[in-house]
């Protein structure tokens, strides 16, 4: 084979659905030489990472930890641990990631009750209530921020309904954690997962998960072993708990990065961070509408972290994205599934959510669409 050259990848302006841009502080922390995964200093760092995650999740859950894989691994860890063959899960499907959750849950032998809504739509507590009255479930799952559609499902009042029916409330926070208000304890969410490469602006490779008392109890009530060794929380809780029992080798460098990314969130403060995400997205939305573009999701349920834009008739999706990337070094994304070829997805997450990026993207888009 040919000899490899020096690493020669561009430094992109990342305005897609993730990974978002990463602060040089996080990159520097990640590049620190390694310690062992059972080193007392790494164990201190694990605690700090867990404390930082509790802050962004707004929870006191002891069992709050980064799963050693990207967001989909965190997603799978929740269903793998909650569900045994024959259990029922009700999943709100209003986009690509609800669909993925159905696929995963079925692999663990669960009965999947889909609650379908059109892409871009969201669920209300009343709808969950009505569905549970018809068909009870052990677990109810919704996607807080659907990365495929840009729609935000409001979680307030939802847990109450789910708990009234004796179910556990599972929430996908992949595109909300650290960018959009999310209050695990106040909203009484039993279990949630996220990714690091979205509003936390840390490279992909870890998946923050938080597990409350009811979900933890459900893990311990299982009759069968978790059908997934790597993601078995009954073992992971000893590795990330006080015992620090060896399970697998944690990705040391990724944890260095996550610690620094969480530190940046703490320095900024969650409220200020949420506001920055809202303000910059408002600026983007105004600018896109000034260009005559239509935003797919109505403002009342539009995500401040990810915006879906209808591709105008006669405009070549691939060509515009190619020109953005090649001429202006900007990444945005196309649509997934039902939105393929119909929507662009523009992310303003974490370190990517900056005024200079908004202005640059608007200006570049204007030039390309004029042609």
């Amino acid at each position: 084979m040919n000899a490899l050259t020096d690493l020669n990848v561009p430094e992109r302006i990342l305005l897609g659905p993730g990974p978002s841009m990463v602060s040089s502080r996080v990159l520097r922390a990640m590049a620190h030489p390694l310690v062992g995964h059972l080193d007392p200093k790494f164990i201190e760092l694990m605690k700090e990472v867990q404390e930082g995650l509790r802050y962004v999740f707004q929870t006191q859950n002891q069992m709050t930890l980064p799963v050693s894989g990207t967001g989909s691994a965190g997603m799978e860890s929740t269903v793998a641990n909650l569900l045994e063959p024959g259990d029922t899960i009700m999943i709100g499907v209003n986009g690509y990631f609800g669909e993925r959750l159905c696929d995963m849950a079925s692999r663990y032998g669960a009965t999947v009750n889909r609650l379908d809504k059109p892409w871009g739509d969201v669920f209300t507590p009343e709808e969950i209530d009505a569905a549970l009255k018809k068909k009870p479930a052990k677990v109810v799952a919704v996607i807080h921020a659907e990365t495929s559609t840009g729609a935000l499902t409001s979680l307030e009042g939802m847990a109450e309904v789910v708990h009234k029916h004796g179910a556990l409330f599972l929430v996908d926070c992949v595109t909300s954690l650290g960018g959009i208000p999310l209050k695990i304890d106040e909203w009484d969410i039993d279990i949630a997962y996220s990714g690091t490469q979205k509003c936390l602006s840390c490279p992909p490779g870890l998946s923050p998960v938080t597990i409350g008392a009811r979900a933890r109890e459900a893990f311990h009530q299982r009759k069968t072993k978790v059908a997934n060794w790597y993601l078995d929380m009954t073992m992971l809780e000893h590795y990330w708990g006080d015992e620090r029992t060896y399970h697998h080798t944690a990705p040391i460098s990724m944890n260095y990065a996550l610690r620094e990314a969480l530190r940046l969130v703490m320095e900024e403060g969650l409220e200020a961070r949420y506001q920055r995400h809202r303000e910059n997205s408002q600026m983007l939305w105004d600018g896109l509408e000034d260009l005559g573009l239509r935003l797919i999701v109505p403002i009342e349920r539009r995500l401040p972290s990810l915006t879906t834009v209808a591709i105008p008739d006669g405009v070549n999706d691939m060509e515009i994205r190619k020109r953005l990337l090649e001429d202006f070094n900007i990444e945005i994304a196309g649509g997934l599934g039902a939105f393929k070829g119909k929507a662009w997805r523009i992310g303003l997450m974490g370190y990517s959510s900056r005024k200079e990026n908004v202005v640059l993207l608007l200006s570049a888009l204007e030039r390309l669409l004029k042609k």
Copy 2:
């Protein structure tokens, strides 16, 4: 919560069972700003990583890729994809990681035929042949380099026996890949996995896996979906194959690191690298014996990447390791399972395998054992 300080972890001399030390070139590559996981430039890089992995595995297998988790995820990916409920796997258990493989395989509903040998011992083709005559199996698994014992199972002639009985040959190469001769194609191994944080000297976070034609055919012959979404090779083959279909977000930075680590292997050349591992370990072995210490594994099957040393009577395991870490900044490891409290595990892997590290460890150990 308290504000976090700057990252302040030590720069250890890592002579345990992994992670090994990482070259500053790899750390710098890892710290490069990110591109998106579907960026054309990242897709080029994925190809380069795959080519580099084919070189270290000594294979032409198209399906050679880094699973997006640490070594145990790679391990689990092989059994999850090979085994369906009711299938039989024969696993050679001569240490901790054979044991782990049994646990994983059973979670996928497989019948596990254990072939047990004392810790530190190894398997021969004749033993595998005899065992398969008694009980056939769909898959036969052995650990090439047992990280818990320091013993090397010679793989030559083994596949022939396994294939004679119509089984697939699965090999754990976690502590051999890149440090000890391993010839996937020449030895006709059907499927193998490894970790990045051992002899490749890349931070933990990825798990190289290579899959030959027979194993791939077995994947496609499955009657049931793979009971693990994140590790489903029938989907991963489209992400890492020519289609590059989105599956999960690959850990971008870890792939930057792996590319550079593989580049370092290519620059050195595999043969020279194997020789360096052998020579430095020989120097370690001689030095340890000069100190009156007993090496647990006989030289003919002793790993050049990991050495197990019997802890002498009257010597406090924990105290010596603590002094090595605190006074000399050196990490070595204690024993796992049957070797707990009885053995130290000293790794000389990848970038850690250097004469200066050998001399330093011997000198530090001499001082501590004299006290």
